[in-house]
């Protein structure tokens, strides 16, 4: 690494591998580190960073204000327990110094010294955990979680804890087929991308893992861009248009999701982990290669994709700032 950058940039999953962007079935094996101009990311499934406690506090606040961000259709209870134990074991393996999961028959003790948590629970007893298995899982990792059930030749988004959605609503989408969830996304259906992705996921065998990235932009460091609170964050998309260059670069963020897809063993569900990263343009610009590449991607992006991603109002201004100032 030749650049001296902030820890946030050093682990930022910069998603562009070319100067233009189109949707593709961009799945790749999980746990393979990706070297970037500023560092690397992706060596593990779960990534805890300096924002760990702050983002979990934000999730608690959001769930308290709107409990519909946690959804578990009744048939997903086994999958929720499977997801919880899978993730806690993974955390234990990655952070043995600060986290542990001990089992004594059906009783477990989870310790997480980073959060000061010691929790005893009984597998299968939903009320032995605050928030139930999926709610508790959401209190230990920064990722949003969606659980996909497989039946009738489809995947179904039947459970989740999603507080950091990028312009969608778990409460509305829960219970939909995977293809229906993605119904409003332009281009991906005509190009067969989403049905190919579903077929790929349906063939994942127990324990298999893969990942992909997705991206959009947002005004300010706002993780919660659910449809429910669009009246709160929507106006910023308009306001940023009138901002001067310095304010634009400070407030406008590249928003990247690292999505892991893991076929759980015992339940057979697919656990979809969505970890959201935000970096402001002025911070991102300290890596010259990123500055130039993002500028070119934004300048080239077709209008329908820019519209779906909510970028139409400011993408020209952002591209101009990145490329010409």
């Amino acid at each position: 690494m030749t650049l001296s950058v902030s820890p946030r940039l050093a682990t930022f999953p910069f998603p562009f591998r070319a100067d233009s962007y189109r949707y593709s079935t961009n799945v790749e094996p999980a746990r393979v580190p990706v070297e970037t101009e500023a560092g690397s990311w992706g060596a593990g499934i779960l990534h805890l960073d300096d924002d760990y406690a702050a983002e979990l506090a934000e999730r608690r606040r959001i769930l308290a204000a709107d409990p519909s961000r946690l959804q578990v259709l009744p048939h997903m209870r086994p999958a929720a327990w499977d997801a919880l134990l899978t993730v806690l074991r993974e955390l234990h393996a990655q952070h043995p110094g600060s986290m542990s999961l001990e089992q004594d028959g059906p009783t477990f003790v989870w310790r997480n010294s980073l959060l000061g948590v010691e929790q005893r629970f009984t597998e299968g007893a939903d009320d032995s955990l605050p928030g139930g298995p999926l709610g508790f899982l959401g209190s230990q990792i920064q990722d949003d979680v969606v659980l996909l059930d497989q039946r009738e030749g489809s995947l179904w988004a039947d459970a989740g804890v999603v507080t950091f959605a990028a312009d969608w609503s778990l409460g509305f989408d829960v219970g939909m087929r995977f293809l229906e969830v993605h119904g409003p996304v332009p281009r991906i259906h005509e190009e067969g991308i989403i049905s190919r992705a579903e077929r790929f996921l349906m063939r994942l065998q127990p324990g298999e893992e893969c990942r992909r990235t997705n991206w959009s932009m947002s005004v300010d460091r706002r993780l919660d861009q659910s449809t429910e609170v669009y009246p709160e964050w929507g106006p910023d998309r308009r306001a940023i248009v009138d901002a001067g260059p310095a304010e634009l670069a400070r407030r406008l963020h590249l928003r990247v999701e690292v999505q892991h897809l893991i076929r759980l063993g015992a339940s057979g569900a697919i656990m979809f982990l969505i970890r959201t990263y935000l970096v402001a343009l002025d911070e991102l610009a300290s890596v010259p290669a990123w500055r130039e590449r993002l500028g070119r991607v934004l300048a080239e992006l077709p209008e329908d994709m820019a519209d779906y991603k909510g970028l139409v109002r400011y993408r020209d201004a952002a591209a101009h700032w990145l490329l010409d100032t």
């Binding site: 509305f172 219970g175 293809l179 969830v181 989403i194 009246p231």
Partner: protein, 174 residues
């Protein structure tokens, strides 16, 4: 966009014909336009000599409650045939699937799609309105103007509605 991909229903608007593989049948229809088709189905089931339960119109809430009871008591081999405006068919289908019916056991005919149930994502109220997808309707809960998005929850039998003018400042055109 193919119908297999989108969440917006693209259901038959002409008689898809009777599914003859069932052992017993329920026929539910809404509105005058659906009646002839439903009666045709009824006759065909009787000719097949299979048991049939049929309802036409009436109060939507009562009909849906009765449907839920029928689904609860139904045995595998049962077929549900629904005809009527999209909003009614969506609602009845949601009752049926939540009771365990599969798409393969439901036959649908949509006679018109003038009305939509629109779920306000901001205040969690569902409003029945005469509105097309992509148009705007008022939320009966919070009063916001909602854009009716081309996104449908079959579970809740509703279109997604969200604030149409969140990104405009006073005086600007939407």
């Amino acid at each position: 966009m193919g119908s297999a991909h989108t969440s917006v229903p693209r259901w038959p608007t002409s008689d898809p014909g009777l599914d003859r593989t069932g052992r017993s049948y329920a026929i539910l229809s809404f509105g005058p336009d659906a009646r002839p088709t439903a009666e045709g189905w009824h006759r065909q089931v009787v000719e097949l000599g299979r048991p049939v339960w049929a309802r036409h119109g009436g109060s939507a809430d009562e009909v849906l409650a009765e449907l839920a009871e029928r689904v609860e008591a139904a045995r595998v081999g049962w077929r549900l045939m629904l005809a009527g405006p999209q909003a009614d068919v969506l609602a009845a289908r949601a009752v049926a699937t939540s009771g365990g019916l599969l798409d393969a056991e439901i036959t649908l005919l949509v006679t018109d799609d003038r009305h939509r149930r629109v779920w306000c994502s901001h205040c969690d109220t569902t409003t029945l309105a005469e509105v097309a997808t992509g148009d705007v309707t008022g939320c009966s809960g919070c009063g916001r103007s909602l854009l009716v998005h081309h996104h449908v929850s079959r579970r809740n039998a509703a279109y997604l509605g969200f604030m149409v003018d969140a990104e405009t400042i006073d005086g600007e055109a939407v």
